[in-house]
Amino acid sequence: MRITCPLCGARDRREFYYSGAAVALDRPAPEAGAEVWDDYLHNRDNPAGVTRDMWYHELGCGSWVVVTRNTVSHEVIGTALARDEKGRGA
C-alpha cells in the first residue's frame, strides 16, 4: 500500500504509523459530557467503503495525515495534512 504524504510524496505505508479514525481531530470541549467524550474516544464506525483515518509519517517528516481511502478496494482516494483539515473545521 502506498500513501501520498502531502509534504514528502508517495511513500510505502511502512513509513507510516496508523492511529485510527479521523474523529480524533474533533476533540470535544472538556465539559461536553460523558456521552460526547465516549463517542470521541471509543465509538467508531466500521465502514465497508470510504473511511477517513489518521496516519503519522513517523519515518518521514512527522506529519499527521488524514487519509481518505476505501476499505473494500484499498484505494487511497486522497490525503491531506491534519493541520489543514483542522483549519477547515473538519
Binding site: M1, R2, R27, P30, M54, Y56, W64, A82, R83
Partner: protein
Amino acid sequence: MRIDGKGLIDRRKPISFRFDGQRYDGFAGDTLASALLANDIRLMGRSFKYHRPRGVLTAGSEEPNALVTTGLGPAQEPNVRATTLELYEGLMARSQNRWPSLGFDLMAVNDLAAPFLGAGFYYKTFMWPKAFWEKIYEPVIRNAAGLGALSGEANSDKYEKAFAHCDLLVIGAGPAGLWAAMEGARAGLDVILCDEDTQPGGRLNAETETVGGMAGAEWAASVVAELRAMGNVRIMTRTAVIGAYDGGTYGALERLAPEVAQRPGAARECFWRITAGQAVLAAGAIERPVAFRNNDRPGIMTAGAVRAYLNRWNVTAGRNIAVYGNTDEAHRSVRDLQAAGLHVSALIDARPHATCDLDVPFFAGAEVSNAEGRQALEAVEIRTAKGVEKIRAECLAMSGGWNPNVHLTCHMGGRPVWDRDIAAFVPQPGAVPGLHVAGAARGVFDTAGCLADGRRAARAALEALGRKAAEVDLPEAETARYDIWPVWAVPGKGRAWLDFQNDVTVKDVRQAAVENFRSVEHMKRYTTQGMATDQGKNSNVAALAVLADATGRGIPETGTTTFRPPFVPVSIAALGAGAQGKGFAPQRFTTSHDASVARGAPMIEAGLWYRPSYFPQAGETHWRQSCDREVQMVRRAVGVSDVSTLGKIDIQGPDAGAFLDMVYTGMFSTLKEGRVRYGLMLREDGYVMDDGTTARMGADHYVMTTTTAAAGQVMRHLDFVHQCLCPQMDVRFISVTEQWAQFAVAGPKARDLLTELLGADQVDLPFMGCGAVRIDEIDARLFRISFSGEAGYEIAVPARYGAALFERLCEMAEARDGGPYGMEALNVLRIEKGFITHAEIHGRVTAKDIGMGGMVSAKKDCVGKPMAARPGLSEDLREELVGLRPLGEIKELPAGAHLFDEGAEAMAENDQGYVTSSCYSPSCESVLALGFLKNGRARHGERVRLVDHLRGVDTICEVQDPVQFDADGGRMRD
C-alpha cells in the same frame, strides 16, 4: 540422452555434478533436469503419499515431481525444482522421500495399499483412540509422507532484500513481455523487465519459430541487447514476480546466478519490493497434463517440456516418442522431434476432426488409456473407436491445452473468467489497478498475437501514465489458430493422476464429490489437491473440471480456488532477509558504550538501546554483589550513570509554555527560567502515558525528557496534540535524544565532583534548577535533578563529547571512592525511593493511583483531564501504589505476584493487587517491592498475603509508603 543440435547450452563448458552420490556431466546452460535426462536418468523422485517413481513432468517452475535437496547442514535446501536449478560445478543434489534409495524405496508398499489410502483416509481412519493422534499416527504419517526435509540448523546462507521503483514493470520476457518493454522503453519510460528464467525469451527459447526473420531465441537476444543499450531499462532475469499488492507494489524473488552466489559474502537470493506506476503481466501459460491411467510414469511429460528439452537443451527422454494432444501443439511436437531425427511412434490427437500431413502413425479422435513400465515408461495403450492398441514409447509428450498464468490478477480479490473458446480461465479485466495483461497470460497463444498484445498492453499503460507511444514496427512472426478439444480425464479403470505432487487422482476428486465436498474449496482441502510447492499449477483446472463433471455443474459455476501469493515458493529467509540475529532490530548505542564494555559491563537491551547492567569489579562473582556495591557507592560517595537513552525533546516558540500546559497535567507556562519541573502526561482516556522532567532553558525554550521506553510514543503524541488539536499554537519541537549525551552524577560527593569539573559558580544550582554551563570550551547543560534520591545532577554535552566526558566523570568519581553504576543499581535506587517506571505506569493506572492526583492542575484543561474525572477512574477503591516489605520467612516478593487479604484463599475473586517491581535494598537491608493494592494508601502498616503461583511463593508482607528510604527527601535537597 543428448542429441546434436544448436540449443542454448555451451558445449565448450562441461560441468560435473553429483546426483544421489553418482558423478555425471552436463554443460553450462543445463538445468539439473536437462542434465539428468542427458545422462538417461528419468527417475528423479518419489511421490508424496504412495512413493510412486516419478520423473520430470515440465521444464519450468511449475514442476511437481523432480524436487531435490541441495547443500548440506545449515545450507541444506529441500524441494528445489530440478527444472529451475542451474547446473554448476560441484553441485550435489539428492532425491527425496525415498528409503533406502530412489530405485528401491521400501515405502513404495504404500502404493499397494492405495485402495485404502484414498481421499480423506487420514480423517476417517485415525479417529480413535484420541490420544493416539499426536503420539503415534501423526509422527508415523509425517515420516511416511512428505517431500524434502530441513536440516534443523540455522541457515548460514546470506539473503538480501531490496526496493526498486519504475514507471513500467513488465512481468515475463516472452514475446509479449519483450515487446511491451520495447514499447515502454522507446516511449522513454523507466522500465523494469523481470523474468524467472535465466534467459529472456520465454517459449521462444523452447520452440523452432522465427521472429523478425531470425530464430526466436536469437530475436529475443537481439531485443534484450537493444533494451540494455537504451539505458532506461533494467532487465532482471532469474527474478520471479510472486505477488501483486496495493498501490502498484509487487514482490519479486531473485535467485542469483550460481557463479555470483558462490562468491564470498554474496547473497544467494534477493527479495525485491518493486513499486511501479503501471505494469504489464506477460507471465505466459502453463501446459496441462491429461489424466489417464498411470499417467505419472517417468518419461511422460508435457509436450511443451519435451520440445523445450529438445530445442533448448538438446536432450530427449527416449528414442521412441509418442505424442498425445488436443490442439495443433501435438503436431508441432511431432515436427520438431522428427526434424531432430527422433522416432515418433504415434501421434494421438483427441480431436475427431483432426487431420495430419506428417509421416507418422496418426490416430484422430483417440486417447491414451494406459501407460506401461514402472520406473520408466515402456509403452502406451491407445484407445480408438476400433479398439485398443499398444505402442512402444520411452517418452510420451502430452498436452491437454494451456492455462494462462492468471495468478497475479487474482491477488487482490479478482476472479478469473472462463473462456469457452480456449477451454481455460483468463484474467478478469481490471482486477488489479494498473496491471495490463498481455499475451498467453490472456489466452493469446500465437507469437504474432503475443507481440501485438504486448504493444496493446504497453500502450494502455502509457496512456494511463499520460505518455505518448513511440512509432515502432512490429516484427513479423508466426500466426496460429488455437483449436482445442477439451480433454480432462480419460475414462477407464485404475488411477489417473491429476495432482502429481500430492498424489491426487480423478477417483479422489469424484470421491470428494460423493461425500458432499462439492465446493471446489472443500474438495481442495479434502483431497489436498493444489497444495504444496506447485500450488496446483498443473492440476487445478483439470481437477475442478472433474469436480464439475461429478457434480453435474459447468466449470464456470464450479469456479476456482483462491490464488494467493507467492506465485513460486519463497523461502522465509528471503522474505525476512537481513532480520536474522542482530539484524532483527536496529541497535542503538550510547556514547559510553565502548567504555562500559571495556569495564566488563554486561549490556542489556532497553528498547533498541543497549545499557550497562552493572560494572563488575575484581572478586565479584555474582551480579548482586556488584549491584549492592554500586547502590552503596551512590548512597555513600558518588556514582556516574549514562542516562542519554531518555528521550529529549527540544521545544521552542512563544506558545511553548501553553503547549506544555496542554500535554502535561501540571502547569509549565508559569515555570521560572532556569528551573525544572516533574511532569505527568496522560492519554486522552485519562490514564498515565509517561512521565519525566522538563526544564525551562529560556523564555521560549524548554527541554523535555521522556522515559527511554516511551520516547517515540511521546514524540508522536506531541505531534498529534500540536497538529491535530492545537495547530494555532506557535511552537516547534524536535527530538534531540541523539544529539546530547547526558550523565547522572549522584551521591553525597556529586557536588564536590562537579565543582572540580565546572568550578563552584557553575554548580551553584538550587534543587530542581538548571542552566547552561561550560566545560573547558564546550557548551553544556546542567540540571539538578535526581532519580536516585541522592543529591544529584545530570550533565549534558553534545554527543560527540560524550565518550570523553564519561571517562572523565568515572575517573573523578573513582578518585572519590565512587564510580559508574548500571541499570541494576539504578533500579534499586529508584525502588527504594518509590520512583515509578513503566513497570508501574503500565497503561492501566491513573495519576491518582500513583499518588499524583494532586498534580492534575485545576486551573487549566489538558489531554486526559476530562476522562480522568470519570467515576471509574476517580473512585477510592482503585488499586493504589504501595511499598511492600516481607515479614515472613520467605524473603522474596517477585514482580507479577498477587496480593490477597491475610487468610483469604489465593484465587482471582479475592485478588487485592499485584507486585510491579522488586529488589534487594542494601540501604534498607531488606527485600523491597512496589505494587498496587486496593485502597492501598489507607492500608499502610497492614499485613497482606503475597502469592506467586508461577514461582511457588506464598508469604506475608507489610504494606508501606512507596518511599521506603529517606522519606522526607532531605538527601536530595541538601
